[in-house]
């Protein structure tokens, strides 16, 4: 009798603890969303023509209530760039989160598997030699080249991963091999290209949001919105993957099939993101780690948490890129690494528990 009472009390305490944990995580996600909204408004407000936050919010809520000049600047010029920061940040961070999950590797990110390096090579081919892999409007030649090379890299890794006996360590090694191959090819392009072309390639690889337009934004957003539910559908299985293949398999997950499916989905996310804004390496690695520290690895929270963290980092990076040197927009890839990495190190070193 007393044992039953003790067990019952322990159970109700455990349920209370679990419910509190869920509420805390929901609050963290809500807090991140609020921060993201604020960052978006500040990002819109900053630029050669400065607006107050009140004006920005008025322009967002009732566009007709503000001057035409403000409406054009905020909606037509700055909004696609600011929203692109959110979409690309979320896409890269989700891609990194799921790569870390399916490869059981804390270093995994779109960079690790050579997807970003492939994209850079594709872009460099167009920038340096005018090579067009897929005929398209001028504005889309470089992104399409980058996208095609990134996806070819992903499919090469996918095809090799399907071979019998290939382990997750082998997949990571294949990715690293891809990175080195593309780096060598990039060096080769820079060796033969004109000085002007080399400068363009270098600038592209720094990552920049400034070429964002509404059509490009819709494409990136469309891919993100399509991929998210496909990943969320596997939420429980992906969480189980973090316990290792043997454990996941014992729970009814098919690790190999899931790994291959998720690899294709996140490659698509990363390829689109990198194609439009260039290589921004830091977010795919760090966004998921910050999310993990904040909301744990239950994918119901980890997936949106990673998306929000990635979007917030890139949005804040976009703000900082405008304010550090007034009048100059520093390439976003430089800012996110310079400012974000010390912040990330602080988080990791101040956190008592190791997650890997």
């Amino acid at each position: 009798m007393s044992t039953e009472l003790t067990t019952g009390t322990a159970a109700s305490r455990e349920r209370g603890f679990y419910r509190a944990l869920v509420i805390r995580r929901q609050l963290i996600l809500a807090g991140l969303t609020l921060a993201l909204g604020l960052s978006l408004c500040v990002d819109l407000a900053l630029g050669p023509a400065r607006f107050g936050l009140g004006e920005v919010i008025a322009a967002l809520v009732t566009p007709d209530a503000v001057s035409q000049q403000a409406r054009v600047i905020l909606w037509d010029i700055r909004m696609p760039v600011a929203l692109m920061a959110l979409v690309v940040g979320a896409s890269l961070s989700i891609a990194g989160a799921q790569m870390q999950t399916i490869l059981s590797n804390p270093l995994a990110s779109p960079f690790t598997l050579g997807i970003s390096a492939g994209a850079s090579f594709g872009a460099a081919l167009a920038l340096a030699f005018g090579v067009v892999l897929v005929p398209a409007a001028v504005d889309y030649v470089i992104p399409l080249n980058a996208f095609v090379m990134a996806m070819l890299t992903a499919f090469a890794i996918h095809a090799l991963s399907m071979r019998r006996g290939v382990t997750i360590e082998t997949i990571v090694l294949l990715g690293i091999a891809m990175v080195f191959i593309f780096n060598a090819l990039m060096a080769l392009i820079q060796f033969f290209a004109s000085q002007q072309a080399v400068a363009a390639v270098v600038f592209w690889t720094m990552g920049s949001l400034t070429k964002a337009t509404w059509p490009k934004l819709w494409i990136a957003l469309g891919v993100l919105v399509s991929v998210l539910p496909l990943l969320a559908r596997h939420g429980w299985a992906l969480t189980a993957m973090r316990l290792g293949d043997a454990k996941a398999e014992s729970l009814g997950v098919k690790p190999r099939a899931l790994r291959l499916e998720v690899l294709v989905l996140v490659s698509l996310l990363a390829a689109i993101a990198v194609a439009f804004v260039g290589t921004i390496g830091f977010i795919g690695l760090v966004g998921p780690h910050i999310a993990r520290l904040l909301v744990g690895e239950d994918q119901r929270f980890f997936l949106p948490g990673s998306a929000l963290c990635g979007a917030l980092i890139l949005s804040v990076g976009s703000v900082l890129s405008k304010v550090i040197l007034p009048g100059t927009i520093i390439p976003i890839g430089i800012i996110t690494s310079l400012v974000g990495i010390p912040f990330f190190l602080f988080l990791v070193l101040s956190h008592k528990k190791a997650s890997w």
Binding site: T7, A11, E14, G235, G244, L251, G296
Partner: protein, 249 residues
């Protein structure tokens, strides 16, 4: 009542044959079956073959099951260090193949599994902070929470202290009887097999060396032939059979 019958069950890794034509009578719900055999005899492979994770000839026939997924499996590997609490990691096992929405019933099952194994107080702990033995108990809870009709346990007591070994096996035997669940546990401690299991099947180099009621299967002759040890089996002061190992042959 659920039954499991192995019919000429074989398994191979590539071209290498690991299990050869294992045939057993039907094991029924309510029983605890010991899966015995020296290292590399094919015990884990047999579990994986029953689960359909490996290819091979023959079949593992399940009769009388009512659940969609009647079999739960606890592997030897207790899992990596994810950022999850014990409660979450057991809930995760419960929710596989279900929607993302967690119902009160699911939480109830998690608490029941933790309570059954006497580890409710571990619920709030991060799985990365647990000892090997605690992880093994959590792993057992992850299998139990699936409300299986057939429970396969691969060396469930290997990391446990003596008290917890006996406690876990007693709990499993009680649950098997109460829930008419068939429990098959790979064990290395033949004393435990004699004390806690009804039936035993013994593997030797991928073949079935013996199968039947445990006290008839675990004999000095079998121990000498399969385990290469000289041993006696004598009743203890409470009348239970106990194994006394003399020496390696």
């Amino acid at each position: 009542m659920v039954t499991l019958t192995l019919d000429r069950l074989s398994a191979r890794y590539g071209r290498r044959r690991i299990l050869s034509e294992i045939t057993t009578p039907a094991f029924a719900g309510g029983q605890v079956v010991a899966l015995l055999g020296p290292n590399a005899a094919g015990k884990s492979t047999l579990f994986r073959r029953i689960l359909g994770l490996l290819d091979g000839d023959g079949e593992a026939r399940i009769g009388g099951a009512t659940a969609e997924r009647p079999v739960a499996y606890m592997p030897q590997d207790t899992g990596a260090n994810a950022v999850l609490t014990v409660y979450e990691s057991v809930l995760l096992a419960r929710m596989q193949g279900r929607s993302l929405k967690v119902r009160d019933e699911d939480l109830g099952e998690v608490e029941r599994a933790l309570g059954d194994l006497g580890i409710a107080e571990l619920g709030e702990r991060d799985i990365g902070d647990l000892s090997g033995g605690q992880r093994q108990l959590v792993s057992a809870a992850q299998a139990l929470v699936q409300a299986p009709e057939i429970l396969l346990l691969d060396e469930p007591t290997s990391a446990l202290d003596l008290y917890r070994q006996i406690s876990l096996l007693s709990i499993l035997r009680r649950l098997a009887r109460e829930r008419q669940m068939l429990v098959i546990a790979a064990l290395h401690d033949l004393g435990h097999a004699l004390r806690f299991t009804d039936q035993a099947m013994v593997l030797e180099s991928g073949r079935l060396a013996a199968c039947g009621p445990t006290e008839r299967v675990v004999t000095p002759e079998l121990l000498r032939r399969v385990y290469r040890v000289d041993a006696r089996i004598e009743p203890c002061s409470r009348g239970r059979p106990q194994l006394i190992v003399e020496e390696a042959v």
